[in-house]
């Protein structure tokens, strides 16, 4: 218990350090900081979400993660206002983008100005920072079938290392200057002064390496780095965030749930009843595909499965460990939680991936924040009454035992 708290603290300190460093050194970051993320979220959800993900996942259009690093603000504002204009102007990047996405043009948002774009960028940055904060570092993403999600945290590490090298060099130079100056001031100039600059530098460095403060700082620095990397790596064991395995049939949620807006319940019939949302059986597919697109090779696979009486072996994306009990009905039926809250924008996914970390911290966090859906549920009537008499805060899941061990572990 104690140790885990310690780790947590270490992690948050390390993260703070990282974020602060990057924030102060990156100009684009500073731009984003100006924006109002809350407003950005509303704008994004109303206007962009249908085609773009906040992550780097390609939906209809490209994923918007780190878009402010790819292009500068002026360009982005121009593009959002009038994409066609930018393409027509012959801007190389814009033309490449246009061609890459099968010459499908983005809708223009002429009403959007710099403020709106900044807000959206702020939201995108926030949305991307969140998973980084809860999940974890290179080790985690390396946990197997990880997608390219690991990239930014790698980038941070590189920047950090580069910065440190620069700082060390600056320190070295400063110390050399200080020693030279002090010698000059004390007037004990010797023959050494006559040496070349490289000699001086060498002497300075040697002196530096003999300085115990510098030595111990360096050792501590490396120890801390290694410790952090180890801890992050260990936290990441078994976390498969971003896991998007190839499925035996290239089923697209984007097409079915996104484009055709088929209700999730139509296929995942168990979601309101039991623990498992259930992977649809082949006969559910046949409700439509008995008529539609029969000739598609992917759909032919379903036919083959039925003919051979061999079920389709889908690869499980969300693997909760056996020791944790999770029930879909409790969350969806009783709690009224939307599928997307845990599964991400599933209606935009060509290939399903694990969006949430599915760690205990993630579960608990939500249980702490979420209000209980007590509306028209007689089960909660007395509890709500009791809670109201004691507290002005809304009734959270945590207030009715949502953090107790035996709610999930037995």
């Amino acid at each position: 218990m104690k140790s885990s708290l310690f780790f947590k603290k270490m992690r948050s300190i390390a993260q703070f350090f990282l974020v602060a460093l990057i924030a102060t050194t990156s100009i684009t970051q500073a731009v984003a900081q100006d924006g109002d993320a809350a407003n950005g979220e509303t704008l994004f959800n109303n206007n962009c979400k249908a085609c773009h993900a906040t992550s780097d996942e390609v939906a209809v259009g490209p994923g918007l993660k780190d878009v402010q690093k790819r292009r500068d603000l002026a360009w982005i504002v121009k593009w959002v206002k009038n994409p066609n204009g930018v393409i027509q102007s012959g801007d190389e990047y814009a033309v490449a983008l246009y061609n890459k996405f099968n010459k499908a043009q983005m809708t223009a948002f002429p009403a959007f100005g710099e403020k709106e774009v900044k807000d959206i960028l702020a939201y995108i940055e926030k949305a991307n920072a969140a998973p980084v904060a809860t999940a974890a570092a290179p080790g985690a993403a390396a946990g197997g079938q990880a997608s390219g999600d690991a990239a930014p945290s790698d980038l941070f590490t590189y920047i950090l290392v580069a910065l440190l090298i620069v700082m060390l060099l600056v320190l070295g130079v400063l110390m050399a200057i200080v020693s030279i100056l002090s010698k000059a001031v004390s007037g004990t100039a010797t023959a050494g002064e006559e040496g070349s600059f490289s000699d001086k530098l060498r002497n300075g460095l040697v002196g530096l390496s003999r300085n115990s403060a510098v030595r111990s700082a360096t050792v501590w620095f490396f120890v801390l780095m290694v410790t952090k990397a180890t801890i992050d790596g260990m936290y990441g064991v078994g976390i498969q965030q971003g896991y998007a395995p190839k499925q035996p049939i290239a089923f697209s949620h984007k097409l079915h749930a996104g484009q055709y807006k088929i209700d999730c319940n139509y296929c995942h019939t168990g979601v309101n009843r039991g623990k498992s949302a259930t992977i649809p059986s082949a006969n559910i597919c046949m409700n439509c595909h008995g008529v539609i697109k029969k000739e598609s090779p992917e759909i032919q696979k379903i036919y083959t499965a039925i003919e051979k009486d061999q079920p389709i072996e889908w690869v499980r994306v969300h693997n909760l460990p056996d020791l944790a009990y999770f029930n879909h009905a409790q969350h969806v039926n009783v709690g009224g939680v939307q599928c997307q809250q845990c599964h991400g924008e599933i209606q935009t996914m060509e290939v399903v991936e694990q969006r949430s970390s599915l760690t205990m911290g993630w579960c608990i966090d939500c249980h702490r924040k979420t209000e209980v859906n007590t509306k028209e549920n007689a089960y909660y009537d007395k509890l709500v009454e009791l809670h109201k008499s004691k507290s002005k805060e809304p009734l959270k899941v945590a207030d009715i035992g949502g953090l107790e061990c035996s709610k999930c572990h037995y």
Binding site: R273, S276, I279, P280, A305, N327, A378, Y410
Partner: protein, 1029 residues
Amino acid sequence: METQTKRYWKGLEELRNDETFIKNAHNEFGSFEPTDSSQNKSIVDGIGSDRRDFLKVLGFGVAAVSLAACDAPVRKSIPYINKPIDTFPSIADWYASTYAEGGDYTSILVKTREGRPIKIEGNRQSSVSGGGVSARAHASLLALYDVEKLKGPKKGESDAAWDTIDKEISSQLASIAAKGGQIRIVSSTILSPSTKAVISDFTKKYPTTQHITYDANSLAGLVKANEISFSKAVIPSYDFSKAKVIVGLSCDFLGTWLSGDEFSRQYVKGRKLSSAKGGKRDMSRHYQFETILSLTGSNADYRAAVKPSQEGLVALALYNKITGAAGVSLGADVDKLIDKAAKDLKAAQGAALVVSGSNDPNVQVVVNALNSALGSYGTTIDLGTPTYYRQGNDTAMNELVDGVKNGAVSAVIFYGCNPVYDHPRGAELKDSISKLSLSVSFADRPEETASLCKYITPAPHYLESWGDAEPKAGSYSLQQPTISLIYKTRQAQSSLLKWAGLSDDFYAYLRNFWKTNILGGGDFESAWTKALHDGVFERAGASTASGAGAPAGVDTAIAAVKNTYKSGSGIEVVLYEKVGMGTGTLANNPWLQEFPEPVTKACWDNYASVSQKTAQELGLSQNDVVKVEVKGKSVELPVLVQPGQANGTVAIAIGYGREKAGKSGNGVGVNVFPFAQYKAGFVSFNAGEGIVSKTGSTHKIAQTQTHETVMARKAVLQEARLPEYQKDTKAGRYFPHVFTSEGVKSSTEISLWNGYEKPNHSWGLVIDLNSCTGCGSCVISCQAENNVSVVGRQEVINRREMHWIRIDRYYSSDAVEDLKGLEIASENPEVTFQPLMCQHCGNAPCETVCPVLATTHSTEGLNQMAYNRCVGTRYCANNCPYKVRRFNWFKYFDNDNFDYHFNNDLGKMVINPDVTVRSRGVIEKCSMCVQRIQEGKLNAKKERRRPIDGEIEVACSQSCPTDAIIFGDMNDPESRISKLLAEEKDNRAFTMLEEINVKPQITYLTKIRNKDVDAKAAAATEHAEHGGH
């Protein structure tokens, strides 16, 4: 307990305060004790270490760490091709079915998950079994997943195809029948009317066929007696609930006699008490005369130990007392009790019941006459509604063995029976089966009989089969498959139909049979669907006149009894059936093997139980291996010293010593069926006099009785006698006080802790010690529900059994004046059973000592255990005053050292998917079936309502045949538990170890014995009460 001068003890070692007992009491978990066997000796199993093992572990550790750092395994999600409409993964489906094996009957509900049965519960719609399920019926589930069953038919040693086998058998049957050769179908009791119809159809095709029925524990004598007395060759229905005075004569009617669950339910109905205003303050009185201390005897108010050779004479003495004839003397103690019993019986005319477990028709005729004289017929005995639990005919079976021996019989089909093992003449049969020109067995494995047969055509488990049962006239019950066939097996009925040249579709046959014979008239389809859904169909008015005329043949029987029963001076050997193991058909069932026998608390063995006095006389002590010799046959087995057993007797359980049952059953104990004898045509378990001699070796019996002691804290049990209770409903209660600076306070008033709020639910149990018969059904039910591991004989000896609920059996001796008095009193002690599981304390001592917060408290009153958090310090277990926490010393699954059902894929299908299988190094304990609570709450939430009382049941409360355990929400004023507690609060209700104020969620109700209060005991109680303050 505290206020009485009684002394309670769980075993003789505790009473004597043996050195080992004290050592063990202070060391709850057996630490490493070197064992004789070389198994379990490597560091991988946690014991012992050497360099090579260390390297192995090191290597494994490195490999495991590097593997863990790599890919997570790719897991598949495989949906149905065509999902059945009403089935959803993770949601259990329930099917009503029937457990009817060898005449034992229970109407059951089978819980299936993802198409596999994982739990058996009782069907409360059945008026016969009434929702109770015995330990054996619970455990029968595991037999479905027995990996050692045959995977298809066999011809001799080799596998064969059904087609070829069918052709061969049919042609051989035809040629035998053509020559007039005799064909026999040998079976244990068949309760299924449709199966009997199949057999008669088979007989029509092969007219030389006869159906022979025998029972391993026979009651043919009872049937015969009713034929003699009333010209009705049947076993009547009994109703113990209507009896005010019950006398049992060597009759374990709460356990193994006829229908234990049914009788337990009735019996306890007559013994339940209520402290509510105008509540029931009267209970039946139970006398028991018996040789061994049986489950039934342990529940008796008055009990006397008699030798087997006195069995008939007790019945006769009682009869003489009732009818006023000259008495028979059986020794002062017994005579006194017979006098008393006779007086009570007479007074309870019309509400009395005498039952005898004897298989001697003469004794039963006397008992019939006795019951007739007491006016029991028409009240407590219903001769008009016969029961069919035991249909064996000892004479016919005897003739069969002769027939096989002398070649008069040409073909035998063994159906649901194993006579080579469980018949007294099994050895003769073994030698002569080869003489048969055709021998076929329907056994599910090549057991003792089947392995000698020419063909084995395995029948599937009952949970894979269609069938029906008629346990009682007019009460029908259906059996339906709850899983598709696991192996290439075929129902016996289908095989018989096929060989008779008929369609082998038994389902169609069954439906047709029910259409014509049972459901008849009206809309068959809906009647059938309803019967199948309910599991039972009870026809009103099926019984005929329930009374009986004057019994005939009494004088002849009395003369015969006088003639047969003569006490000798030698050691008498008697056989008995254990509540768990039964007759040994389920010997390969690790759950049953590890089930502690309710009274001896021994498992994984049978043994020679002797009384303390006899042991002293013979110079024997516990675990000494003795040779018991009866009429030239002998067995060697360890001694168990059993208080309450008749002096001069040795009792040995049947059902052990299987040779071809499978790895869990083979070689466990010894087979004593050969000791049983034919006496005047009826199989008798009274083997007669034998010689007991010491062999010099020892064999430790795995006995759990003193594993968890109360460490001399005495207020765990509270009991009183009925007259005391009638005067004062608080009788027997102990109210601990604490002296504080503010004066004397009750121990519940002061606490270190603030306690927990329970705003939503407060789950709890009330356990009525007066209703608990100690049958142990809850133990196996809990084991099945909660994936409790089987640890094996050696680990039980090491005191590491894993059962989450145990039934503590306390002996007590009254009013001990000095230490010497203890020994005398223990000759025939009183027995109390106390089911004990985690008490879910509000001020839980375990929670405060856990260094990693693995055990915490919930807002619903539960003491939670997070296995994944546990690091195995065992502090919690050390600090638990009730000793209910269990430690996983080993990984009990996928471990060849524990080769039980958790070590193979088929066996693991029984695992409840809602409960984690615990790994090595963590503590586990009763969770109050939190998975069921969560499921029940969710169901309520889904329907937007509060849970209804009774909707959620925990495994132990659900399976209790006597409703001794009641579960519910104590925050719901309308729940059964709340109402009961309201009535019993400050009366019979107490929490265990109230003086330490741990505030358990489990409440007990005092045990009340229907005993007279004698002057001496009253004085002693009085004295103790004054002295107690």
